[in-house]
Subunit: 239 residues, 2 copies
């Protein structure tokens, strides 16, 4: 990241040995896509006590799971599109887990880290009014473009104590640390894998710290996880 | 269906013109797979008033959406595996919509039927105790094997008034008609497509009529939709 940074081109899927084509590009000259096209996006609700409190909710005794459709995934620089049926779209900055090859099914907490390919930043964009109205969160969190991930997958990341930050137009809105997660990534991967088989490239969003707030058309929203990078998206009104 | 029925082999995906290989097999001699591997399974809750009433729930003013992961999909004859963390797994017989090529995004109710490739039977298997406990339904309805679909896709089906039936070990448990749906397939496809882009092969389960009830290890559960066929699965305990 930063001035003069370059991107190296790889061939095929990034699992296992990465094959470099030898081609490098200035990062400013390329448009990065979503670093993964997951078959599913599993999310963990209320995984930071301070966020549960701001939602007047209890911290759950087990990870609270919900799903975002794969069609909600967007990449760095893509637009978050505000649907015209909501007046209250909000950001949720999160650390995201990317599952590696060959996936995970009923793995123990101890074995779970071996199922993790790496980590990226995610924004679990949520139409708060529809979330309250529906009760089920699939619609409120499932609109196209409501799941930006990126800017890349960091394979050497330690999730024990990393700052998670959200800025809107340069103003800090959320500032937390992964050390305050109720359930850590190994616990989450183990738990989810006992419910549903995790396939290579599947993404798990690990919950958001306190400070969720509104997104308006024209905003620039950034999610940063220290040690990974910054995922920036602009916010636009529905066409 | 029935004695002497045969299956014709096709090549590639079934969208558009179907290519027959010329090979036919006796239906008894082949194992049918799930007729589609959807990128997502969208479900509509409380879409029959009698089922909403048995759940002490109101009929929603808009379709109530939730998601099942693609890993929950099973085919005809596959086992429904009871997870050891639930004591209350139940059947939900449903008509399922299969989206055709090229998918659907923000289609009107009038244009929606053109987005439908065909229909099949589905069982929205649900761990009722976990559904109550979690509030969000992703876990309770998301276990591997909790989304049987099949036995095939009927492309000439009229969803206006078709019997939906569930039998467990030959005993009728659910008996309803698609005419009692709160929202019909065209309304559902239009509504979902305004939230999330529907891709070819995506499946929408349209809700269940009254009569949901328990599944036990050793049971044989069948979902029949008149005009489509019968989807039968055996129920087994977790290994």
């Amino acid at each position: 990241e930063g001035p003069g940074a370059t991107a190296a081109e790889i061939e095929g899927l990034p699992f296992g040995e990465i094959t470099l084509t030898g081609q490098r590009w200035a990062l400013d000259d390329v448009r990065l896509l979503s670093p993964m096209l997951p078959s599913k996006v599993v999310c963990v609700g209320r995984n930071y006590a301070d966020h549960a409190a701001e939602q007047d909710a209890e911290v759950p005794s087990e990870p609270l799971l919900f799903l975002k459709p794969s069609t909600s995934v967007a990449g760095p620089g893509d637009s978050v599109v505000l649907p015209d049926v909501s007046d209250e779209v909000e950001h949720e900055a999160e650390l995201a887990i990317v599952i590696g090859f060959p996936g995970a099914r009923k793995v123990s907490r101890e074995a779970a880290p071996a199922s993790i390919y790496g980590y990226t930043c995610a924004n679990d964009v949520t139409a708060r009014d529809l979330q309250r109205k529906d009760g089920q969160w699939a619609r409120a969190k499932g609109f196209d473009s409501f799941g930006p991930i990126g800017p890349w997958i960091e394979t050497e990341f330690d999730p024990a104590d990393a700052e998670v930050r959200c800025e809107v137009n340069g103003e800090v809105r959320q500032l937390g640390s992964t050390k305050d997660m109720v359930f850590d990534p190994a616990q989450i991967v183990s738990y989810v894998s006992h419910v549903m088989t995790l396939l290579p490239g599947d993404v798990i969003m690990t919950g958001t710290p306190a400070g969720i707030g509104p997104l308006e058309s024209g905003d620039s929203v950034s999610v940063s996880v220290a040690g990974i990078g910054t995922l920036t998206n602009k916010v636009i009104a529905s066409e």
